[in-house]
Structure formats: C-alpha cells, structure tokens
C-alpha cells in the first residue's frame, strides 16, 4: 500500500466511523467487490443510471464508482462480449451489442419497434435544437400544423411540455432523457451544430420573431 492510499483510508475511517448501520457496504472498499456491485446494479436497472446515483446509494466516492464503470466497460469491450456498457443520457446502461441484434431479436417478443415518421423526426429535430420552444414556433418553422405530431412525441415520452412562454403563454416543449437514450446520446451537447447549415442563425432568429 502506498502512503497516499493509507491516507485516503485513514480519512475514510475518520469521516464515516458512525456508519455501522450499513455493514454490508463496508467491504466495498475492495475495488473488485465495488465493481461487482456496480455491475449487478446496472444489470437490474431499466434506464441509464449515473455514477453519482450509484455512488450516493453505496456511500462511496463518485470517482471510485467511475473507476469501476470504466473498468467494467473495458472488460466487456476487450473480450468482444455480446453486451456493452454505454454512456447515454447522462448515465450508464448495459445494452446488447449491435452486431448480434439479429440473434437477440429472435428472443425479444416486443415485435417491431414502431419507427418515427419523417414528419415526427423533423418536428423532433426542431424541438431538439430550439428548446425550450412553443408549439406555435415549431409550427411556424415547419410550415405546417404540428399538433398531431407533437401529441405523438409527447405520448412516446420523447418531448415534454414544461413551463410556458412569458410572452405568448404557450407551453414550452423540451426533449426528454428518454429522447437522449433512444438516440444513444449522452447530452444535447452532442447534437451537431447547425451553424454550418445556417450561417446566420442569429439573423434568422430575428426574422422568425418578427415574421412568425
């Protein structure tokens, strides 16, 4: 054990001496056991879960949990496993690897996932890039009435209506965590910039406001 470890351990002992209520978390000081616990937790969750959430439940420092996650991900990737640990929607979740999807789908009974229509995707794109955005604004940008499509996106949990526009009172639409998960994105920051496609986005915003 190097001196730094000794210090870290001493500190831990001092800070949490009155926490014998959870004896089962004590041996988690062993990194292998912590990794196993993290793996088991990820196995049972139905949505991505953050390192912070695991750390807080297990009362371990977040960096230890992050190390376990990295370790797990490396192990699964290295052996070309049928499962991979992915970093999506601000959390981690196990997924089957895309290469074996035909074999997996034989055993999945949830049938064909219904695909979003082109109109739904385009509307979703407008909401994703313009959020928070009112329905009226989305409609103006799309050039068509979007009520039906928005209802579908709401019902599928891909967008939510939260708060309202101070000027018009219209509800403000945003994308959800589920949207990020479905797209396999960690955060909205991963959306590619529209700037190259819209050289004058600011100017355009001005126009929108005046005209639409």
């Amino acid at each position: 054990m190097n001196p730094a470890d000794a210090i870290a351990q001493d500190t831990a002992t001092e800070v949490e001496p009155e926490a014998p209520a959870r004896p089962s978390t004590a041996p988690l000081g062993d990194p292998a056991l912590l990794t196993a616990a993290v793996e088991a937790i990820l196995f049972v969750v139905e949505a991505p879960v953050s390192a912070a959430a695991i750390a807080s439940a297990l009362k371990r420092p977040e960096r230890e949990v992050a190390a376990s996650l990295a370790n797990l991900r490396g192990q699964y990737d290295e052996r070309g496993a049928g499962i991979e640990l992915r970093d999506v929607a601000g959390g981690f979740r196990f997924y089957t690897r895309a290469e074996v999807s035909p074999q997996v789908e034989v055993f999945l009974q949830d049938g064909q996932r219904s695909r979003l229509t082109q109109a739904a995707l385009e509307t979703l794109a407008v909401v994703a890039y313009r959020q928070p955005v009112t329905r009226a604004r989305v409609s103006a940008i799309r050039g068509v009435n979007v009520d039906g499509v928005i209802r579908t996106l709401l019902s599928r949990g891909l967008v939510v209506e939260l708060g309202s526009d101070p000027d018009t009172g219209g509800g403000l639409l945003r994308t959800t965590e589920l949207f990020l998960e479905k797209m396999g994105m960690t955060s909205l920051a991963e959306l590619p910039s529209l700037a190259p496609l819209l050289p004058d986005l600011d100017g355009l915003d001005g126009i929108d406001t005046d005209e639409l």
Binding site: F43, R93, S101, T152, S155, R156, P192, D200
Partner: protein
Amino acid sequence: EFLVVASTLLDLKAARLLPAADVEDDEDLALLEARDLLFARLLQYRAYKLAAAYLAELDRAQSRRHGRAVELEERFAALLPEVFLDVSPARFAAMAAASLTPRPMPVVAIDHVHVPRVSVREHMAIVRDRLRRAGALTFRALTSDCTSTLEVVARFLGLLELYRDGVVAFDQAAALSELRVRWIATPGTDGADAEADGAGEAELDEASPDDGRNLDEEYE
C-alpha cells in the same frame, strides 16, 4: 411537400438560379429582402431536414442495441420504493390513444427498390407548353394533374429554370397565397428553347455535386 421543394431548391443552389439583381431603388431592395427572407427560410428548412436525417440515423443505430427490460428478481421486487407516476393526465390519455389507434398493417418499405424516376426536363417541357398556350396559369393549375409530390417538385424546378431563362414571371400577392406564373418570353427568346433545354439539363446534373449524385437521383 413544400419542405421537399425547399430543400431540393437549395440543393440546386437556388442563389445561382435566381438572377443577380442590381440594387437600384427601394423596390428592388424590398424584393431583395423578400428574397433573402425566403432564402433564410429555405436554409432553415434544409437544416432541420438534415438534422432529422441525423436523428433517424442515431435512432436506427440505437434500435439495434437492446437494454434489459426484465422484471426484477423476486428478492428485489418488494424493495422498490413507492411508484411515482410521472405523467400528466393529458399525456396519459395521449398514450392510450396512441395504443388504441388502429395500426396500419406493417409493410416492408420497398420504395427504395422501385423508384419512380421523374425527369425535370420532361416536366419543364410540359410547363413551358402549357404556359405558352395559356399565357398565365396558377401553380395549382400547372400541377393539378401531378400524381406525386415528386412530379410537383419537378414542375417547380422546371419553372425555376424557365424563370432563370427569363421566359416566365411569378406573381404572388402574399406569402403562401396562390402563385401565378406568366409567360413573358418574346418571340425571339422563345426560339432558343431547344438549346436552353440541353443547357438546363447539363447544369441540373452538376447542380448538386456536394451530394455526389445528380438531380434525378435527388428525387428517388
């Protein structure tokens, strides 16, 4: 439909198709502004269309990965804290409606296999003949016999070609109102049609080099 028109228009580098205007008076300036506004809108349409294509790609990739959605093992099932229904009554109703709406029979998309090819040149010829005969027509009338969006787009693009050649003019009272097209060719320029045809086709073919495909492919 308009989205398709708009994005295709951009693919063709609309700026190049529209005549370069010398700004001489206020009227020209206003026209120019209107044109810029239209152009900005078209850019916006195209940007979101591309963004949608990107999302579709992500969705496709992610749909091949399956998360585990299995009920908790018995020893854990009882431990879950109280359930929290994170759903408004309106969204709850929408979810029920989505499930209760009869689904169309799933069909295997084969559109990409049997693609109806639409020739801009053919449709430009149709448009030209009709306008020459009638003098002026609404866009609606010009496309009333179209059986697909692609054909409407082809006629619109044909019109743009004719506009660039200076043989037609457009009148539109307000945005989104009826578009009227007038035949304004003088007999002299009229004679150059056959030649303009060939030239137009050649340029359309090279019009979208960015996408690495030619105009007719754009419609598939």
